[in-house]
Point group: C2
Chain length 398, copies 2
Amino acid sequence: MTAPDKHPLGRWDVESFPGHRVKLGRDEPLRLECGVELAEFTVAYQTYGTLNPDKSNAIMVCHALTGDQFVAEPHPVTGKPGWWDYMVGPGKPIDTDRYFVICSNFLGGCMGTIGPKEVNPETGGPWGLDFPVITIADMVNAQVMLLDHLEIEQLFAVVGGSLGGMQVLEWAASYPERLFAAAPIATAMHHSAQNIAFHEVGRQAIMADPDWCGGEYLSRGRWPRRGLAVARMTAHITYLSESSLQAKFGRRLQDRDAITFGFDADFQVESYLRHQGSTFVERFDANSYLYITRAMDYFDLAARHGGSAAQLFDHSPIRFCVISFTSDWLYPTVECRRIVNALNAVAANVSFAEIETDGGHDSFLLDVPEFHRVFRGFLEGAAEHRGLPRAVPRRNGP
Amino acid sequence: MTAPDKHPLGRWDVESFPGHRVKLGRDEPLRLECGVELAEFTVAYQTYGTLNPDKSNAIMVCHALTGDQFVAEPHPVTGKPGWWDYMVGPGKPIDTDRYFVICSNFLGGCMGTIGPKEVNPETGGPWGLDFPVITIADMVNAQVMLLDHLEIEQLFAVVGGSLGGMQVLEWAASYPERLFAAAPIATAMHHSAQNIAFHEVGRQAIMADPDWCGGEYLSRGRWPRRGLAVARMTAHITYLSESSLQAKFGRRLQDRDAITFGFDADFQVESYLRHQGSTFVERFDANSYLYITRAMDYFDLAARHGGSAAQLFDHSPIRFCVISFTSDWLYPTVECRRIVNALNAVAANVSFAEIETDGGHDSFLLDVPEFHRVFRGFLEGAAEHRGLPRAVPRRNGP
């Protein structure tokens, strides 16, 4: 039997990861939407920058489906730069010389926070499918408990793209008094039928893999790498625009002059996708993938808050900035406009930008200067209103 | 060992299917693009209507990826109506009182024409992955041999949607003297990077299924139903528009009042997709799916004919009608316009219609009156020019 918190390859020891791990729910358990109560559960999180004395400069960054708490530093498994390295750091739009950044691995994740690959105290083995199905509201409630633990009364801002943006919306709807500003990016107020459909294909691919073992692969020393790779490949197509795929790969061949009349990766786009699949399975847990996609499918902000989108943000004191990308067909501008419409319907404080880009949904992760300019501007304006001091310019040299 | 031409469930006996089966290539083998020669191979085909004495009223219908020769009659495996029942029949746009319709199961198919599930004469077992990788040009060349066998010099028209439309384009580019009219529908002159990517995901899903057995599942009495179902589910999403999925299913639940906090098919769209997957695997061969998707990926009409799209149809005597659908994102209007542009560049005889519909790529298979009206009009106009007599109206009663 493989130790439950170890990757089968032995390279995935969350205890050795940088950052913080805290046990929450000791005094009062986290009551999940499904009814299960989590008492004493671990949340892994990372921080950047310094919390100011009056604790008014904290920004909660919410990560997306396959992201994690390593926002702006090398990933402990892959060694690659942090997933929002363009955005977070000294002098960057989320300026860690000015703001204190918190990012926690969400509930159900696989980078140290409680999730299906962690130990179920009742059995001593990995949770597997005995882990309760969680929702985005549950994720946010866990983040609120983390905030209480850090004794921060109000966040300066909550920001995030994609699933991160859904968490931002849930924060704003459920805890309006605990954030000053909110930036939901490339996201939607609920998952569409097509969104659910693509996720369902991914889940079916995982569950069809015999190495998934009904979810018990960890205790059996197996790893459903083929199914998880197919799930990732499918999803990855939805993260890119048709035109960016065409520009990046077109019909160009991979290391060959002519088609081989076979099923090898003749085309660069095939080789690229296979690579995406095979690297993903080295850093992500298949059951986590099931749980997190399920949480996204279940997300329906208006339905959860009484059914009316317009009433969601009534009298909200929050300053909002909603950002979409022209080439995003997973959460297209029309979905972001629904958020803006709901905010405008109650005369909320909202600005909206649709950024021209070819990068598809993944644009929020890419080096898109116009996006960064808009985002920086929003944060700086909000910081002014919040009365945050400007960043002290760093001096070069000793 | 399961008999190689039998479906594992024993319900798929191509010998018992209606229609015709002919051995081609006896005198001269079919030389495939990959270099392999096929001597004596079976083509299964179906006809509707009556060939007129001067053999001028024949229409070749080219079927799409998962279609077959059963255009306008119940499918012998599923019992469902023919896949183009709306279009082909007495009094319908392709009026079998006027035209003689031929549809052959394409090369590499699984409904009676030679393909990976048929017997390899060299081994006596199923071809499996020893079957040569075929192309759309190969499919068309086999159809030309069928035409020679039927002693038809010139077709009145070649028509088809999707992969069927690619065959139409190949017919028009390679055999301009053998057809009077051509209608490529919802198709493209080559496969885009995104098209290839979705196909590659499907192939990887099939090949990841241990029941695929390296392609030898038939001789081992296995059937990669899980992998093939995932492939079908992925592809099926691309056949429908986002808005039609939303209109048809939205976030509605399947036979329940509330989400179950689990991985069952809570949502109607999940249930629908699972059904699409599970029924497909009862009527389609997994290796055929690999071969046909590969043929589509390899399709690049201009590259095959010297690299210039504009020169493809130079001095073509053919009357063309190109049709696209507004909601088709798999082969969107922009791809059909490229065909029209290539035809216009050489002042070919071409009409073009973009049909307003919500049905996505599948629109060409659906009851879309405007599409049928345009298509009927094109055929009737071309028939006039060709000097075909009008259909004799059918009398009711005895």
